[in-house]
């Protein structure tokens, strides 16, 4: 009897301790988002922790010296430049497609910038917040040039390698169900293993976002032996992601991303930004923080876009450097061109 008495007392005590716990601090003791959480956390830490893929040349890739480069990496840098004034104040975390959302919602990273497709279910039920799209993509299919496969219908009874936890896994299933094609999915958790299995012939096809397939093809032993099928299975808007219920942090990531696009529209580049120092254009003056309080309203320095553009460049520069004309991939701007040039890149007004 006495034993149970102790147990009851202990339970009572714990429950009391539990019930009183309505304060909002998370495990790290960092203030939780009850107003301006993550932004203050990043400022206090003096460093941005950015979740990237790290294995896709052109988007986020670690070179021999351990330096991260790519379009996704530059978004991290832009946010760091805006918040902390230093584009290099970023700690990159390599996350695979199954870890990324848990790492983000658990507060392990401040934001994701890793080829994540914006979908309604991720926005609502998974509890994410999607910043503007930085790359409009579509799902493609990589096959061997001599395989004789010309379309998705030819995959009956054949194997397709996929990376798990991706929207591509679902799109592929949907497409094949529509076509009534019975294929064999070979699902890998690790993209490297998936491409390796495709390369040594386990699968006739490898599916992923087109940009990723192009980038990955360049790392295969004989890139010329592989071609992309002329199919686009889905829309894949890729962009940075933050968690729900922290709008001030979300606003920062959102408007820094828009700022890159707006800078290109204004024609401001890292080269010529000095010439805008005493601009007569009120729009540009506001954008660069010479007038108004657009930056300070967000909790950033008023000239945050100056820091971003001088250190990272505008969206066009970022694109060309990493995946566009100045890179080995030479991807067309296509739908990633500015709206004024027939593309989809459009920033709401900075005013």
């Amino acid at each position: 009897m006495r034993k149970w008495g102790f147990l009851a007392a202990a339970l009572g005590l714990t429950l009391a301790a539990c019930g009183g716990g309505t304060t909002t601090t998370n495990a790290d003791g960092e203030a939780a988002p009850a107003g301006g959480g993550r932004l203050d956390v990043v400022k206090g830490r003096g460093q941005l922790i950015c979740g990237v893929d790290g294995g896709i040349p052109g988007f986020s890739f670690v070179d021999e010296s351990g330096t991260y480069t790519g379009l996704d990496v530059d978004i991290c840098k832009a946010v760091a430049a805006a918040v902390l004034g230093d584009a290099e104040a970023v700690e990159y975390r390599r996350l695979d497609s199954t870890e990324r959302f848990t790492a983000l919602s658990g507060g392990e990273v401040d934001m994701l910038s890793r080829n994540t497709t914006w979908t309604i279910s991720r926005d609502t039920s998974v509890g994410l917040e999607f910043a503007p799209t930085t790359f409009f993509d579509g799902q493609g299919m990589l096959v061997r040039a001599d395989s004789g496969i010309a379309g998705l219908e030819d995959f009956a009874g054949k194997a397709i390698c996929v990376e798990t936890g991706t929207t591509t896994e679902l799109n592929l299933t949907d497409q094949m169900r529509q076509l009534g094609v019975d294929f064999e999915p070979v699902v890998f958790q690790d993209a490297d293993a998936a491409y390796a299995a495709y390369d040594e012939g386990r699968c006739e096809g490898m599916t992923s976002d087109k940009s990723q397939l192009v980038a990955r093809r360049s790392t295969l032993p004989n890139p010329d032996e592989h071609t992309l099928l002329e199919v686009t299975m889905s829309k894949e808007p890729l962009g940075p992601v933050t968690t729900n219920n922290d709008s001030s942090w979300y606003d920062v990531v959102k408007w820094v991303t828009y700022g890159l696009i707006q800078a290109e529209e204004f024609g401001i580049t890292s080269e010529n930004i000095a010439t805008f120092e005493a601009t007569e254009n009120p729009d540009i003056a506001r954008f660069l923080g010479q007038e108004g309080t657009l930056g300070t309203d967000m909790g950033l320095p008023n000239d945050f876009m100056v820091k971003v553009i001088t250190q990272v460049g505008n969206y066009g520069e970022v694109y060309d450097r990493n995946v566009g004309a100045d890179s080995e991939f030479a991807l067309e701007r296509g739908q990633n061109a500015l709206w004024s040039e027939g593309g989809l890149m459009y920033s709401p007004p900075f005013r």
Partner: protein, 392 residues
Amino acid sequence: MAHDSGSRSFDLKAMLRDERFWKIAFQVITLLVVLLLLSFFLGNLNRNLIQQGRAFGFSFLRNPAGFSIGESLIQYRPNDPYWRALMVGLGNTLTLVVGGIVLTTLLGVVAGVASFSKNWLLQKLSRVYVGLVQNIPLLLQLFFWYFAIFGALPNPANQIGILGLAFLNNRGVYIPWASSALLAILGIAATVGAAIAALFLWRWRTKIRIETGVGGQAQSIALAVVALAWLAIITLGMNWTVPEGVEGGGVTGGLRLSREYVASLTALVFYTSAFVAEIVRAGIQSVSKGQWEAARTLGLNAGMVMRLVVFPQALRVIIPPMNSQYMNLTKNSSLAFAIAFPEIYSIATTTYNQTGRPVEVFVVMMATYLTLCLLITVVMNQFNRSVQFKER
């Protein structure tokens, strides 16, 4: 310890010196610490979930899964609910675990016994195998078997045929099999049933022969009948289909074991068997030398000494650690998802990724592996009881 209550008022010093007080106090403190930690973690989880505007619950398991699965024992379509997808994963895990336990036991015992062999090559091979395999991480071995061994098999167009009965290519292994799943289950049930009946008959026969010194013919005949019946069911009743190579590559008929399955099974079996071999070796060494000598004095040859005298005694030492090796194999089967085998952990990963519910999915996972491991323990404990010394 003086503790004459009643006569004096409460004595704090005496209580602190009392051993019984500290025994109880220590237990209470431990319990409190555990409960506090638990409440901290659960409270933290709860707050985080609330912050993200989500409630803990399992109703999402009824939503359609939407992804396809490469291989499955039960029927599965992409618009089936998540729970059914998880069942497919559980089925695949079970094929890996059951096949793994059977083969591990065989290989492990053979390798363990071989380490006592007088054959120099056999003995050294066993030692090298154990030393090599035990010291390489399982994940590496999985990749090795998947990419280096089974990946090196030719493509379907140049597949290897074995006596026209089986085929090997870089998609998998094709073996003869019953023409329908029902017949296959019948065949497996008949095999298990026949094995149990044979074991029972053999024990009965031994018992009669020990107790009366004669007889046992009836049991021998029954044994023969069981064997014949089993043979008849297996050869005639199964409607075997033999895999046939197709012109230009590929195979029809028979059973296809995917490369993912075969590689996972091989890696798990080779890895776990190395540990089992050591357990078997330790068990055999635990049998005193006198038993060997006594058995040899009776005129038994080396094989019979092992089979009749030493091994049955070694079992008492072998079975308890075997239990944990079987559990390790069960848990390690989750690593197979690294080489694309759709076992339950792989399906669970996809599920929590699509639904954004890692906590719930991991609760399901933990419950599943716990149940599997407990089942193994229950069976092994039964088996263990049956080989212990019977004190009469």
